[in-house]
């Protein structure tokens, strides 16, 4: 296990370098003058351009730029925006918000998705089963912005149950609806995967053995059946958490949450290349670590997977 972990961690290095280089090259290769519109209506003064070109090594080739960037990055220096704001500062203020929203969404996915999946998997073809099948199909088919705007309008504007936007305090109660919107498609997928998994394993020999041992039904289902059925669900939840932590441009936009998705979107629009790269580098790291965690969790859940 220890050796496996070490190997996996070492594997992260080339992946990290490859992805970040690609992003760096792509972002700075976006056509257009990086100084266009930076200085209002006027053209930027030559002095400013010279200073910025020097600062970002814009006159050198992309490899040198990247090497310089990585050197600073490894010392914890994410660089500055064109307006001299620390990029690490932007990430530090907005990332906790994204994290909170992601965790709420994940909790909603796990509770609703898994709950619906287990109930329908145990009793297929009943009323509840059909209800869940139809509603999940509905959620999968609807784009996130539709679900977001509809819920915001209905619950926030028409019925006044929630505030239409989230305050800067990011209270948990405010995050439930945005969390549901963010996780809506995944809730549906998780419900369906859990349902199939439970239904498949329900007739498995080891479940029959557990019943034949005279175990109470809730133990047969809650321990023997669930533990096996959870394996695909956990994989799905894990990879989804990686995606959720990448920020939610649409959901954050709709509910006015100052998250990483909104920041990266704003940076792309305003051609703040350094900000885009900085944020995406963090997201790549998070994603890689999440994937590693899912793999380890997978081994913990299913001992047949041997990491040698």
């Amino acid at each position: 296990m220890g050796r496996y972990l070490l190997r996996r961690l070492l594997q992260l290095v080339p992946v990290f370098i490859g992805t970040t280089f690609l992003i760096y090259a792509l972002v700075w290769a976006v056509p257009g003058d990086p100084f266009a519109g930076k200085c209002g209506e006027r053209r930027c003064p030559d002095q400013y351009i010279a200073f910025m070109t020097e600062k970002y090594h814009l006159d050198q080739n992309v490899f040198v730029q990247y090497a310089n960037y990585m050197k600073n990055l490894l010392q914890g220096d994410f660089g500055q925006t064109f307006s001299q704001r620390e990029i690490s500062d932007i990430i530090l203020t907005s990332y906790p918000n994204t994290l909170k929203l992601a965790l709420v969404a994940l909790a909603i996915e796990a509770v609703i998705g898994l709950g619906a999946g287990v109930l329908t998997g145990l009793r297929r073809n009943g009323f509840l089963d059909n209800l869940v099948l139809v509603s999940t199909l509905f959620l999968i088919a609807l784009p996130v912005f539709v679900v977001g705007f509809v819920l915001q309008w209905l619950l926030g504007v028409q019925w006044g149950i929630i505030k239409p936007t989230v305050s800067s305090e990011m209270r948990l109660s405010e995050l439930i609806v945005p969390g549901f919107v963010l996780g809506s498609a995944s809730v549906a997928y998780i419900a369906r995967v859990a349902r199939t998994s439970i239904a498949e394993n329900r007739r498995a020999d080891y479940v029959r053995t557990a019943i034949a041992k005279g175990l109470p039904m809730r133990r047969v289902v809650g321990v023997h059946l669930l533990r096996n059925s959870l394996i695909p669900v956990v994989t799905l939840l894990g990879t989804d958490l990686g995606a959720l932590m990448g920020g939610a441009i649409v959901t954050e936009g709709i509910f006015g949450i100052n998250g990483i998705g909104r920041q990266v979107f704003r940076a792309i629009v305003t051609k703040e290349s350094a900000t885009v790269v900085g944020i995406v580098v963090v997201l790549v790291l998070v994603y890689l670590v999440m994937n590693l965690l899912v793999d380890l969790l997978y081994a913990a859940l299913d001992p047949r997977i041997r990491y040698e």
Binding site: D205, Y206, K213, G214, M217, H224, R227, N228, P303, R304
Partner: protein, 347 residues
């Protein structure tokens, strides 16, 4: 598990009286059908057998003869749907289990009647250690603490002769060999000291050499604990050394029941004769194996009369019209053949 309606019916001559008779476990005129989209398959058509403490009953039959379904019905692990009990009783200590509440029935499982399955690899839960699955019986059913349950589980592993039981406790099923897995399965089923053990083809998935070891172990444990054992098999060779009585099943019926010795010496049903004839013999080396011609009947459309008549070398017109009931022939044996008397009295 399921709500099972029991209808009152009994086949003639099979003693479907419904009265307690002091037997440990008895199956009385049991009828089970599988309702599928393609039609209704009558899988069990009036099976009656019993087992007492300290004796081993072997239930012999081809695939699809209903021997496993009978066992599943006894255990209450029949898949419903498609399986439905349509008649008969399963009495444990004289009490009909098919009429018990789910909770009453659950308590009998493992403690009164336990079962071991054919394929221990799929029958054991792959994500829990073997030790956990045995200790679970002591913890959940006996309310023992973790340490005590572990101690008892290791004792059980010792009893089924698993070497290094202590270190094996923490192994997962996939880390065991086939024979060891079946031993672990036996340890698990015997944990609560059941009165009846149902062994559903316990050696079919194993190598021949291991088969003998497992059968010996089962026979030894059965003798020590004076359990009643129902040994389900399609292998006549396995049965001979272990069983006291044999019940032969065909198309969901018992066609013959007799002492092991009587059955081998003088089968009283043409089907049993065919089975014994088809055992490979050392003195007929080089010759083709003998078989019973034809195939078992389609259970959705069992032929009228004796279900064996299309394959029977002795079939007469009466066999195509009347179902022969399971009747006593001679001493302590029964046969469901119109010509049972002639078969028993032949030289």
């Amino acid at each position: 598990m399921s709500d099972i309606l029991v209808s009152e019916q009994s086949a003639p001559g099979t003693g479907g009286s419904g009265r307690p008779s002091g037997r440990l476990l008895e199956v009385d005129d049991l009828r089970v059908e599988f309702r599928t989209r393609d039609g209704v398959a009558k899988v069990i058509n009036g099976v009656t057998y019993h087992v007492d403490a300290g004796e081993t009953l072997a239930v012999l039959g081809e695939s699809g003869s209903g021997k496993s379904v009978t066992a599943q019905t006894i255990m209450g692990i029949l898949d419903t749907p498609p399986g439905f009990v349509t008649g008969g009783q399963v009495r444990f200590h004289g009490k009909d289990m098919l009429r018990m509440s789910n909770e009453e029935r659950r308590r009998i499982r493992g403690e009164g009647i336990a079962m071991i399955f054919q394929d221990a690899l799929s029958a054991l839960n792959p994500v829990f250690t073997v030790g956990f699955q045995i200790a679970e019986q002591f913890r959940v059913r006996r309310g023992m603490g973790r340490a005590d349950a572990k101690k008892r589980a290791i004792e059980m592993l010792d009893q089924v002769k698993i070497p290094n039981a202590k270190s094996r406790f923490n192994n997962y099923p996939h880390q065991f060999s086939g024979g060891m897995r079946q031993r672990a399965m036996i340890a698990m089923s015997l944990a609560l000291d059941p009165e009846v053990l149902i062994a559903d083809e316990p050696t079919t998935a194993l190598d021949v050499t291991v088969q003998a070891q497992i059968m010996d172990l089962l026979a030894e444990l059965q003798r020590e604990r004076q359990m009643g054992m129902i040994l389900i098999t399609h292998d006549l060779g396995v049965v001979a050394d272990v069983a006291d009585r044999i019940a032969v099943m065909y198309a969901g019926r018992i066609v013959e029941e007799a002492d092991v010795y009587d059955l081998y010496a003088k089968p009283a049903h043409p089907y049993t004769m065919g089975l014994i004839d088809s055992i490979p013999r050392m003195d007929e080396k080089g010759q083709q194996l003998r078989t019973i011609k034809g195939l078992p009947p389609n259970l959705m459309n069992i032929p009228p009369g004796c279900p064996f008549n299309p394959r029977c070398p002795m079939a007469q017109p009466v066999c195509r019209e009347k179902i022969p009931p399971l009747l006593q022939v001679g001493h302590a044996r029964a046969s469901a053949c119109h010509f049972a008397e002639e078969l028993v009295n032949r030289d």
